[in-house]
């Protein structure tokens, strides 16, 4: 047998074997996500431990003690300008007074379009704020919330309530929210995280959210309509069958940005509106859906003005657009 014939035969053999075996099994998406969160948490923890051996820590402590006065005085004289820190987000909407404190700088009032730098603490008090992260992710903070932005992908929720809307785009590196009971991550979703007393609550409107518990490194996944409550001492409670709309979501809608409807279709507007309100959209027929997608609008609207808009739209478009429970129904008159 010539060498060429041999190599062809060997190639054929490889092909036959691979075809016989078929594709390799893959773990489920849920398991992958859960494992990724757990592994990431372990990796981060182990790096913190590894960073400094004990003797080095003592040495560093001694060095720090000796240097603290010098550093302190230098810091007082020449504090690092805040605007040299990386920008992690921009303010999209402010409702009331909200304080931003970057890099131990003085507290400043948040204003629309102002940048939020890394290492900024946001205290909402009686106000509320919506932010757009560099990754385009929308983050909304309710009243009485304190959050520290460590960087563009990492925030620490100390108290209060955050709403996350990842939009429809899949992010390569999702936002990680540290809470007292563990780290929360998501994949393309809308959800709320609240820290109230010693309990952390997660409620998911769309997609899924994973939390890696700090107590035992267990990774839990929270799906649509589910609410997970975890206490610092480790007690876990689940609730299911919850709607993604209702009074507890109203503050989220209040912070929605305006939707520029100029030359956008009625269908697009309704999709955005439903997403902001946690509703589903049902068309009477495919033909009605086609009409909605081809009907173009003009102006700008805010999701907060809920049913008024729908009534106006019904009048303008000549279609029946009504909301019933968690669904917007669109039909031809």
């Amino acid at each position: 047998m010539s060498k060429d014939t041999e190599s062809v035969a060997a190639e054929d053999a490889v092909e036959k074997l691979l075809k016989l075996a078929g594709h390799r099994d893959m773990p489920t998406e849920v398991a992958m996500t859960r494992a990724r969160i757990a592994a990431y948490a372990v990796w981060q923890q182990s790096m913190q431990h590894r960073k400094a051996p004990r003797w080095k820590r003592y040495l560093a402590l001694a060095a720090c003690t000796a240097a603290i006065a010098i550093i302190g005085s230098i810091f007082m004289l020449q504090k690092r300008p805040v605007d040299t820190l990386p920008v992690v987000a921009h303010v999209a909407v402010v409702d009331g007074d909200v304080g931003l404190q970057a890099n131990t700088d003085t507290v400043k009032a948040a204003i629309n379009a102002s940048p939020v730098f890394a290492n900024t603490q946001i205290v909402t008090g009686t106000g509320r704020i919506a932010l757009t992260l560099q990754s385009n992710l929308s983050l909304r903070l309710n009243q009485h919330t304190t959050v520290v932005f460590i960087d563009a992908e990492h925030a620490r929720l100390l108290s209060g309530e955050i709403y996350v809307d990842a939009g429809l785009a899949r992010l390569s590196t999702p936002l990680l929210i540290e809470t007292p009971v563990g780290e929360v991550m998501h994949r393309g979703t809308q959800y709320r995280v609240s820290v109230i007393g010693d309990a952390t609550l997660i409620q998911v409107r769309e997609g899924s959210v994973q939390i890696a518990l700090a107590s035992n490194r267990e990774a839990l996944s929270v799906g649509v309509g589910e609410q997970l409550r975890v206490e610092e001492r480790g007690r876990v409670e689940w609730r299911a069958g919850l709607g993604g709309f209702g009074s507890e979501w109203d503050w989220v809608t209040k912070l929605a940005s305006q939707f520029d409807i100029e030359n956008r279709s009625l269908g697009e507007y309704l999709s955005w509106f439903a997403r902001e309100q946690g509703l589903a959209v049902r068309y009477q027929s495919a033909q009605v859906e086609r009409i909605a997608l081809s009907a173009h609008l003009h102006g700008a609207v805010n999701a907060e003005v809920a049913n008024v808009n729908l009534d106006e739209l019904s009048l303008i478009t000549g279609m029946s657009i009504r909301r019933q429970q968690g669904v917007i129904y669109i039909a031809q008159n």
Partner: protein
């Protein structure tokens, strides 16, 4: 160079120890599915248990990266951790005799014989195991060529390589696969 032992593994570990997020993604994406399949073959197809085991193995590995000294391929080290993890699960799940039996038979297997621990001489299993032992780029290019029936040109485009470089990669991948398969399936069996 051992074709089944990529020379950039120590570099991957170093990057992980430096906190490189890209290295974490690479490590997780490459090794979680492979360890999952390694575990699954040993727990009689119990996917759920295999997922848990694989998760625990990767966590254990990331906790003890400094103990990996590069004396064995990374996959070999992870498989050793996987065996230990399964033996641990075996002790925990004392009420599941079937799993315990499978795990005990695995523990008896020769540690040096990496995949023979499958204790299953089915060719299909050996092929799948061999693919998991190859460097990811090799397994990937073989699957594209023979399972997705892609042309070399199409593979080259997708991988961003020249056609010549892709052909060379395929040749090396086939050679490594043959070597791995013969090792795993036993010397007595010849390739079809």
């Amino acid at each position: 160079m051992n074709p089944m032992w990529p020379d950039n593994e120590q570099e991957l570990i170093d990057r992980l120890m430096r906190g490189d997020a890209g290295a974490f993604d690479q490590f997780f994406n490459e090794y979680y599915p492979r360890i999952y399949r390694f575990a699954r073959r040993r727990v009689r197809g119990d996917s759920s248990l295999a997922e848990d085991v694989a998760q625990a193995v990767l966590c254990r590995a990331l906790e003890s990266l400094q103990t990996y000294r590069g004396e064995a391929a990374l996959m070999t080290w992870l498989c050793t951790l996987c065996r230990r993890e399964m033996s641990q699960q075996c002790r925990v799940k004392d009420d599941e005799p079937e799993i315990r039996e499978a795990l005990e038979s695995l523990l008896i297997a020769n540690q040096a014989d990496l995949i023979n621990a499958t204790h299953d001489d089915d060719v299909k299993e050996s092929v799948l195991a061999a693919l998991d032992y190859l460097p990811v780029t090799y397994a990937d290019v073989l699957e594209r060529k023979y399972l997705r029936d892609m042309s070399v040109n199409a593979i080259a485009t997708q991988l961003g390589r020249s056609v010549k470089a892709t052909e060379s990669l395929l040749t090396r991948a086939r050679a490594a696969f043959r070597e791995a398969f013969l090792l795993l399936d036993g010397d007595s069996r010849s390739m079809p």
